[in-house]
């Protein structure tokens, strides 16, 4: 069977779209809630902190060339504890994907497909995501690579067209909620960039070395951090705090605000295309990486047979929150506030233990020899 490998540009595009997808759901509103007028500073600080976290994690991967984090965890903690940690990561991923599915379906119901039952929407989205996950990593990465410039241009266009609303005064007072809250929220705000860690579970599919993987991560976080900062700044100028903390789907609201005369308005339909695409991609990736983690954890030869069960599980979990407000709270008050612990701190903990127990050193030395 042909070995599937993806290049570094595809990987960077994949990470950028995966992280960037949250700009189209509630992320600009969340950082506005945390930092008030300094929401963009929260993005800047959390982005920089995420780069530091990533460099640390990428360092561990370099000690175990070609091994995914699931395997490294087992090597470090042994099969029993390692399995437990991997299951925690899997459950976190399941929870994240399910909540994205729920939020995306609910947002679609509220904005564009107002009469469609939310469970039907979720089912259709999930079936498409299942198909993408079935086709595997190559399909998802290539799709990201293909759509990445289109989405980037689309976002830039929407932001530029909002220029009549630009008012820099709205970004002041500069420190927003205050130095302490801004720094604290910047720490948990790293959850926003945590998708980069998914790369550590996919290392065996990369055609490049761990050093380049490190660079891909740094580039992706920096790129999307810049985009997030610009999006949040524009959002806060168009819908300044406190109105900026009210909007359910900030980017959609921004695109609805474009009015450049009688013949240039109602451009949100254009936005819906890339909004939908990124959400599909995020759900498909959740399914795929979840299946790969389970495959690696339980040493299974294939991941595809796991997809039906995983799809059903994601669908069921998505509807555990009673209503949209509960799903928003789960995203804003649980996943975004504590997600970084599982996404960044757990792998860092694994790497620290590996460092202390001198795991992986033989391999490193071996490879050097």
């Amino acid at each position: 069977m042909k070995k599937i490998l993806v290049g570094h540009w595809e990987t960077a595009a994949f990470v950028i779209i995966l992280i960037g997808a949250k700009a189209f759901l509630g992320y600009p509103r969340m950082v506005t809630d945390w930092g008030l007028t300094a929401g963009w500073l929260v993005v800047l600080f959390s982005g920089l902190l995420s780069i530091v976290f990533w460099l640390f994690i990428a360092g561990v991967l370099a000690r175990f060339p070609g091994k995914p984090l699931t395997e490294i965890t087992e090597l470090t903690f042994g099969p029993f504890l390692g399995l437990g940690i991997n299951i925690i990561v899997f459950l976190y991923l399941l929870f994240s994907t399910s909540n994205v599915l729920r939020l995306f379906s609910e947002a679609s119901t509220l904005t564009v497909l107002t009469e469609t039952p939310v469970n039907i929407l979720a089912l259709l989205y999930l079936l498409a995501a299942w198909l993408a996950a079935y086709y595997g990593i190559e399909a998802i990465f290539r799709c990201s690579y293909f759509s990445f410039p289109l989405i980037s241009i689309g976002v830039v266009l929407v932001l530029l067209l909002l220029y009549p609303y630009f008012d820099l005064k709205m970004l002041f007072p500069l420190m927003g909620s205050g130095m302490g809250p801004v720094l604290m929220s910047s720490l948990w705000g790293t959850s926003a960039f945590s998708e980069v860690v998914l790369l550590t579970y996919l290392v065996r599919y990369f055609s490049f070395n761990p050093q380049r993987l490190k660079n891909v991560g740094v580039f992706s976080i920096s790129y999307i951090m810049f985009f997030f900062i610009v999006i949040v700044m524009v959002y806060q100028m168009v819908l300044p705090y406190p109105t900026g903390s009210e909007t359910l789907v900030p980017f959609y609201q921004l695109s609805r605000s474009i009015f450049l005369g009688h013949y240039f308005q109602r451009v949100e339909a254009f936005f819906v295309i890339f909004w939908t695409f990124t959400a599909f991609l995020q759900i498909a990736t959740g399914l795929l990486v979840g299946a790969i983690i389970l495959q690696d954890t339980f040493k299974l030869p294939f991941y595809r047979p796991l997809l039906p069960a995983l799809t059903l599980l994601t669908f069921t979990t998505a509807f555990l929150p009673e209503d949209l407000i509960q799903a928003i709270k789960l995203e804003g008050e649980i996943r975004m506030v504590y997600g970084w612990i599982i996404a960044f701190i757990l792998p860092i903990f694994v790497s620290l233990v590996a460092l202390i127990l001198r795991k992986g050193e033989d391999k490193v030395n071996g490879s050097q020899n």
């Binding site: 008030l36 007028t37 679609s108 509220l110 904005t111 497909l113 107002t114 009469e115 469609t116 039952p117 039907i120 929407l121 259709l124 079936l127 008012d167 005064k169 709205m170 002041f172 007072p173 500069l174 420190m175 927003g176 909620s177 205050g178 130095m179 300044p240 705090y241 406190p242 109105t243 009210e246 609201q253 609805r256 605000s257 009015f259 005369g261 009688h262 308005q265």
Partner: protein, 423 residues
Amino acid sequence: MVPKIKGVLLLCLMIPLLLLIQGCWGSQETDETGYILLMGFDKGEKDILKVTYQMAIPHPVEGGEAEKATEIISVEAASIYGAQQLVSAFVSKRLTLAHNRGIIISEELAREGLSKYINPLVRSRDLRRTTFLMVVKGKAGDFIEKNKGLIFEKYPSRQIDIFMTFSDVTGFIYKSDIHSFYQGLKLPGQQAVTALVGVQKEKEDEDPKLEQKKPRSYEEKVKEEVAYLPGEIPRKGGNKIELIGLAVFKDDKLVGFLNGEETRYFQMLTGDFKKSIFSFPDPHEPESSLIVMEIKKRAHPKIKIKADEFKTVIEVDILLEGEILSIQSGRNYENGELRQELENYISTFISQEATHLIKKTQEEFTSDIFGFGEYTRGFFWTWYEWVNYAWLAQYPYCEVKVQTLFKIRRPGMMVKTAPTHKY
């Protein structure tokens, strides 16, 4: 061959999915839909709210001219959406606000407070925040009703669109939408305004007190050329409605109006002013001649707030330029000292009027509709410090200094006026 079969099978699987695609749930035939173009809110007589709708009557692409383009209906209910639903009892269309272009609110309702009516508008998935928002002097229902027989356009939505673009060329119409009004309600550094509209007064509607007003001098007539509120413009013909002036709010309540003249100075102070035609009494013959000038914004006004323990000073530099349209006296104001004199005269005139307007908002309305408070954001590190500064409470006591820097850029198509022979 096998991949081909797989592809065909996949396609066969996907086609039924396409048939199930989510759009089918929300399908709505075009002839089922009723497009609301304008919506007006008044206090109800039998229920809380009276909502008036002007709806489009769709026409076939081919065929003869239809009798009328719109239908006006009104209904009373407890809420905006309640009214919209109640319409289904007597209109065989499913109403949508997706193409609604303007919302007109009665003066009476606006004086009671608009927060409760704005909330459903910003929450709406149908309605855009770019929808124009206007307060009518009188009743919203009357405004829509009187505007029924459009003369120059087919639909009122387009008519309002065009009227609002005149904001850029007249300055006395203010382009206000739900978005800007909502920001005015929520931001701690400014208060809200909306465009002011009204209906042309019939002879019998005219206020006897207005009739008894003392006659104005020539100079006053020149200075107050556009100082009208809706319904007051001395005219004949055209649409029955008038858009001129501004409705001033304090918090969410209407507290007063600005006339067309004041609206132009308001826009100069906020930076929204683009251009407008001004008439000034000739400095040398104020009782018999006037000068007409097209004045344009040269740059955004420079606004500085200086605050210490004892006083807060608002300093505004208005930067304008102009083109001479008429000099009735024939004096050569285009060059030399006369030009300098005219520039200084106009600068002083505009500064005085703008200062007078700010004082009016401080003393009469106690409302910072210019958003001067937003310029104090930079004084503070955190949002809470700024909010505690309580700008809006301090605004009425601020000292005001307005300076206008006006330059004549073009003399029109003449460089000077040759003397007229007199025998």
